[in-house]
Every structure is written in structure tokens, then in C-alpha cells.
Amino acid sequence: MKNKSLVSINDYTREEQLKILDLAAGFEKQPTQSILEGFVIATLFFEPSTRTRLSFESAASRLGAKVIGFSDASSSSVQKGESLRDTIRTVSNYSDIIVMRHPKEGSARFASEVASVPVINAGDGANQHPTQTMLDMYSIRKTQGTLDDLNIAFVGDLKYGRTVHSLVMALCNYNTTFHLVSPEALKLPSSVKIHIKDNKHKYFQYTELAEVIHKVDILYMTRIQKERFSDPMDYEKVKNSCILKNQMLTDAKPNLKIMHPLPRVNEINVDVDDNPKAYYFQQALNGVYVRQALLASILGVK
């Protein structure tokens, strides 16, 4: 995958995705390797995301690469009105790969077309966040031993949650049964559902989390933001239907794992944290290994 930009999860074939997951497993065993010495990695965060930026910078540093860039647009030439095109062309001269996060959808695809170096999308508005998707896939495979034939529930804001959209699309390459739990107003959009239908996978829709827990191997929780509701009363009505409490897990399958892209608000009760089924903190750590695998692979050293 040398020089191959990663903008949308579908840019990589199933085989390429699995190769990244295998490489990531190697970095989990041995996270510190000086294989990227002499490489310069630019992290351009046009909007702040400390969690994602630190994960990338940690991945780069453990492999011996140098990191340049900015952590929000106010400290950069962007504030002076420079176009994205010009910023990307300039940074291409200074670096071997660009990791970028930008508030506008499609910005990463555009950057990958004007950059002379490969681009990794670290989030473009509400559109894609493929490295999150890869770490989610890594976490699922690691805990279940496979990505095939799983029952996976997505819970919460399925309408606006881009992590959900990308992961659903990625799992369409595997024989997944989808269980979609959300308030009526936050159902999975048809533009995403079309991928499930095109691949002839089974899917079921629910409004109550309790209905689905005993059926699934993975419970992928997301937060519901109050701002998504025009009427605050509607939020009050639905907010409890997608909250996970420890007592709800008594009938769960033994292999069930609970995932969450973090940060959480109140959708997973803190009493779940000590349950061995809680996986969300390890999930975040897996992000470093997956990003190491992507950097090493795209820079052509693995």
C-alpha cells in the first residue's frame, strides 16, 4: 500500500484492510521499532482533536519519525485566509505523509488529489474517519477472533455518527448481521443503509437497547447529543432508551464486548467499566497500533 492515501475506508480492499490489521498485531507485540527514522510526518489539524492527534503522534514517535504540524487552524496560515489547496501543496514539500483533520466534508479527498505525498484522513467533518474504523475492526477481530459471521449492534445516534457510518460500510465486506438501535429521529440514514442492502446482509432496527443485548457479539455504543433534537422534550423522552447499565448485561453472550469511540457522556453507566465485557479503553489503545501499521505501510517500510 505504498503511497496509497487513506481517505475513505472503502479506498482499501478487504485484503488491504486485513493486511493492516495483521501489521497492527505485530506492533502490539513490539510497539517501539526504529523503522521510520528519517521520515517526517505532518499532522494538520484544522480543528482540534487532541485524542486522535496524540494517538497519531504517539504512533509516529514510537517508530522514530519526526512530527511537524499544527493542532488547530487558529495557529496556522489558514487563519490568514490561505486556501486548503495552497496549504497542502506547501506542506507536501516538507513532509513524507500528511495526516489531516478538517471540519469540511470531502476536504481529505481533495487534499489527496493536490498533495504530492500520501494523505491519511483523520476525520473530515461528518464524513469519514477511517483510522477509527480500522481500530474498531482491529478491536472486533481481536476480541472475537474473526470479522465474519458476527452479530453487531450499533446503539445511539446512528444518523450523525460518522464512526458508525464508516464501520457499517467496512463490515459490509464481512458477513455481518446488523442490529441498529436508535431513537426514531436518529436512525441510520439511507445513504449508509444502501450498503447493507447492496451486500444483502441482514439488519434489524430497534428503539430499545434492552431488546438487543442478548443477541449480539459486539455492542457498539455512541453518544446522543442533546443538540440533535429540535425539541428538548424529545431528548428527555428517548435518552434513557439507549443507556447501558451493568445489570442489563446478565443475559449477554459470554463473548460479548462493549465498544465506544469515546469520549462518552452518560450512555454507558460507570458501573459497566469493571465488567470484563467493557472494552472501550483497550479499544482506544489499539488505535496506536493500527496507526503505526498504516504509517509504516503507506511509507513503504512494511
Partner: protein, 155 residues
């Protein structure tokens, strides 16, 4: 009334040179005029709507003198009036007749409906894949959102 080659009455009078856009769905006639900026040209434009049509029941028709449409314009017509036929007229005679066809890819003529799409903020040529020709759904190459018939705008 003049008759055309098939002996049908022409309800809108003939032109010497130019293009006839025939078989337009009635509800799209004014949209076709708009997307081709026909309100803004110096040459003669004739149009009719709710005309009888054997094929369609009712149809619209537009005749533009001295105008021969470029492929980008033809694609625009196809997107808003997929049933249309383009008839090139030279010297009062039909020189060419072809049905418009919705293309598989649409470049630069359409706007992405997503206000947060990069194409609405930087000078980027828009690109879409047509994912549904019947319902008319275009997937933006950049933001991956779907622009549909009721949200489509043209440059």
C-alpha cells in the same frame, strides 16, 4: 399550421438553424430554460408546454435559434429532463436527432447540496457518480453525500 416530417402539426413554429429540445416532461420546461440560461441569450427562444404527445400524453418543447449545445449542457438537460430528444436543425431541416442520456459520471455542471462540502468552500471542480438514474441520485466524489433530483443545483 406547418407539418413536421411525420406529418404531425407543429404547435410551435419552426426555426431555421438551432436546436429543438423535444419530449420534455411538462414540469421540467422552466427548469430546462433556467439551467441553460435561455433567459439570458440574444437569440430567439420559443417554448410550449402541455402539448399533446403520443409517447408521453403531454410534453414540453423548447426551440432555440442558432444554438447547438455543448456536451455539458446536454448532460444538464439529461439530468432534469431524461426523456428529452435533441433535434439539430440546419436550414429548416432535421440534421440530427438523438435522445439525451443520463451520464454515469457528472463533472463540474452540478453543485453538491451539502453546505459543509469542501466543493462549496474552495475552488474544486465537482464530481459525482450517478448511483440511481431513475430516481436520480448523485454521490459526491468528495463528501460522499447524495444529491437527489429535489436538491440538485447547476452552475
Amino acid at each position: 399550421m406547418k407539418q413536421d416530417e411525420n406529418g404531425k402539426e407543429l404547435k410551435v413554429s419552426a426555426i431555421e438553424n438551432g436546436t429543438v429540445i423535444d419530449h420534455i416532461p411538462c414540469e421540467s420546461v422552466f427548469q430546462v430554460i433556467k439551467i441553460l440560461s435561455l433567459n439570458d441569450i440574444g437569440d430567439q427562444v420559443l417554448f410550449g408546454t402541455n402539448l399533446e404527445s403520443r409517447k408521453m400524453g403531454k410534453k414540453g418543447i423548447i426551440k432555440v435559434s442558432n444554438k447547438f449545445f455543448e456536451p455539458d449542457d446536454v448532460n444538464k438537460i439529461a439530468l432534469v429532463a431524461p426523456t428529452a430528444t435533441l433535434i439539430t436543425i440546419r436550414n429548416f431541416k432535421v440534421a440530427e436527432k438523438k435522445k439525451v442520456e443520463i451520464p454515469d459520471y457528472v463533472e463540474k455542471i452540478a453543485k453538491c447540496f451539502n453546505p459543509n462540502c469542501i466543493t462549496n468552500h474552495e475552488k474544486v471542480t465537482t464530481r459525482f457518480t450517478v448511483i440511481d438514474k431513475v430516481e436520480l441520485k448523485l454521490r459526491c466524489h468528495y463528501c460522499e453525500k447524495i444529491t437527489a433530483r429535489d436538491t440538485i443545483w447547476f452552475f
